[in-house]
Each structure stands twice: as C-alpha cells, then as structure tokens.
Symmetry: C2
Subunit: 192 residues, 2 copies
Amino acid sequence: MKALEEKIRNEGEVYPGNVLKVGSFLNHRIDVPFMCECGKEFHRLFDGCGVNKILTVEASGIAVAVLTAQYFGCPAVFAKKSKTSNIADDVYSAPVRSFTHNCVNQVMIEKKYLEPGDKVLIIDDFLAHGEALTGLVKIVEDAGAEVAGAGIVIEKAFQEGGKALRECGYRIESLARVASMDADSGEITFID
Amino acid sequence: MKALEEKIRNEGEVYPGNVLKVGSFLNHRIDVPFMCECGKEFHRLFDGCGVNKILTVEASGIAVAVLTAQYFGCPAVFAKKSKTSNIADDVYSAPVRSFTHNCVNQVMIEKKYLEPGDKVLIIDDFLAHGEALTGLVKIVEDAGAEVAGAGIVIEKAFQEGGKALRECGYRIESLARVASMDADSGEITFID
C-alpha cells in the first residue's frame, strides 16, 4: 500500500535496536480515516474467504481490528494480556513475548468467544519476530477454529516472523513490508 | 439508547460487588456493527461542538473510540497505562485506579498528541467511580486543550462518578445509565 509506505517514511521515527515508532498514526494517536483505508484493503484482500471473526491482541491491535471488522460486518475479539476480575477462568492462552514492554505475557481469550467452525482473520499492527501472531494462531487452532490468514499493517520483513509463518502455510498479507531501516540516517526502504 | 439497554439486559452478567460483565459485545468480543451504532449516536449528540480529537484510555476504550472517531473524521488518541520503550519522556499523566485490575496506573499521553486549541471528546466504555474520566479530563486541561464532553457507553449511575463530574460542569452523555443491578436475580434497571 503505497500511501502507507509514504506515511511511514514521512512520520515514522527510527531508533537503534530496530525500533520503528509510528505513534502519530498507529500506536498512540490513531489516524482513523487512514486506518479505515487499511481496513478496506484487508477486506479487499480477504473478501470471499468466509471470515466471520477478527482476532487481535490488546492494545495497539484493537483499533485496526475493529475498523477492519466493520467492512466484514463481523465481531472482533481481542486477546487480553492480563487476568482481570472481569475474565472467566475458562480460557485459551499462549505465551507472547513483548519486545516493547520487555516481558512475557500469557495472552488469553475466553473460550466462549472462539468456536469450532469460526474462520478467523488475525489482524495486528506489527509483525517482527512473530511472537504475537504465533500465539494467536495457536489459540485459534486450540479452539478448533480455522485461521483464514493474517493482515498486518507493518511487517519488519528483515526479521524472521513473517517468513517462518508463511513457510508453515499461513497466508499473511502485510500492507507495508520494511526491508531495512537505518537509525542514523532515518532511511526506511520497503519490499515491493 | 434502548437497543443498548436491551443488549445489556440480554447479554450482561451481574456479579457480586457491582460487577457488570459485557464481554460479549464491549470488553472482550466486540460487536462491531452494534458499536458503530453507538459511535453514530455519540456523533449525533456532539455534532456541531467543534470536536477535532477523540481521547480514551487503553484497552477497552479503544474500540468504541475509533469507531466513533470515524464519524467525526478525526483522529483518536489513547492514553497508555504503562511506559514502554516506544513512548517518549515528554508526557501528560494522571493516576487512575482500575477496579478490574485492582491497581493504580499512571496513565500517560505524549505531549505532542494533545495541543492547546484541541476540542476533545472523551470516549470510554464505562463510567462508575469516574477515576478514568477524571484522569483524562486533567490531562486535557494540563495540555491547555478543551473538554467538549464525554461519551460513555454504560454508566453505573448508582456510583458517584457521573454525578461529581456533571456538578463540575462537564457534559456527559451516557448511552445507558444503570440505576441498579442485582447479582442474585440478575435484574438490571435503567434510568430513562
């Protein structure tokens, strides 16, 4: 998605350690009209695949997940990162390492919100090492549901997550695939 | 909003300690088409007030905030509950007690995402004791921006948050106002 690449080039900030900050439109301030365009593009890509549920993980995935779900006319479920008094005991869960928080969360979904027969499109803001996506895939399959694929806003294609999951046969569509980024020059290049 | 009251009656679960679980459409699984209707209603209520930014707090507020923002054609900003490597040091912050997590979070927003002159509509899923809303109001005013009002999906009107904030002069519009709920019978009543 060329408009997204341009937005990342214009607004993204590159920091040492392969950190790409896009807080101005995706992770903190959400450019909602623009994110609606991303949602429409995910719908175009996965239309006709029988998707009846969108799945993501809190917190940054929620915005793009619900804005996408509206074009499918389906619900969105988000995995929680911590147990609250509001969550039931009967959950599917998977460990997910967060590189921005530098910790491992046991992400969880109440069992009643994922069912055998569901055809699930996983949506997330970033794909890098693939930890979150791998955890969500495990949860979908533990539930006896089917992964229709994954829609990612920004893939750090120089890290191994996308490659490993595609090799396992999952369909992963990333709207922008970063080939390289340089913290000194701020330069970001993309895979076409 | 009668359709919301009906949904709360049909799908809400009441637990001791004034806990109302609405995980089936608002807090865990999000009924996106229905939440779009809530967003349209907030837009109808605050249309013409000059709103140019929606503000909420992660995580459960994000879905309804972005689905509302699209009708205003404006961005949404969400306050973060914890410091990550992705957040700058220059933040507005306020302490907010979470009753579901039983802890106090210092919620924060990077200063560049709130500006003097902004007219901010605060959107949240619940209003009970008013802790989150009070924190967000403080942040908006610390930034020199203006609170246009607050749009709440479900207000526990038997708790004091809404009353206190209205007495301070803030316009608060709640789509459903729970007058009472009974954990034994499961009965929920609303204020018209």
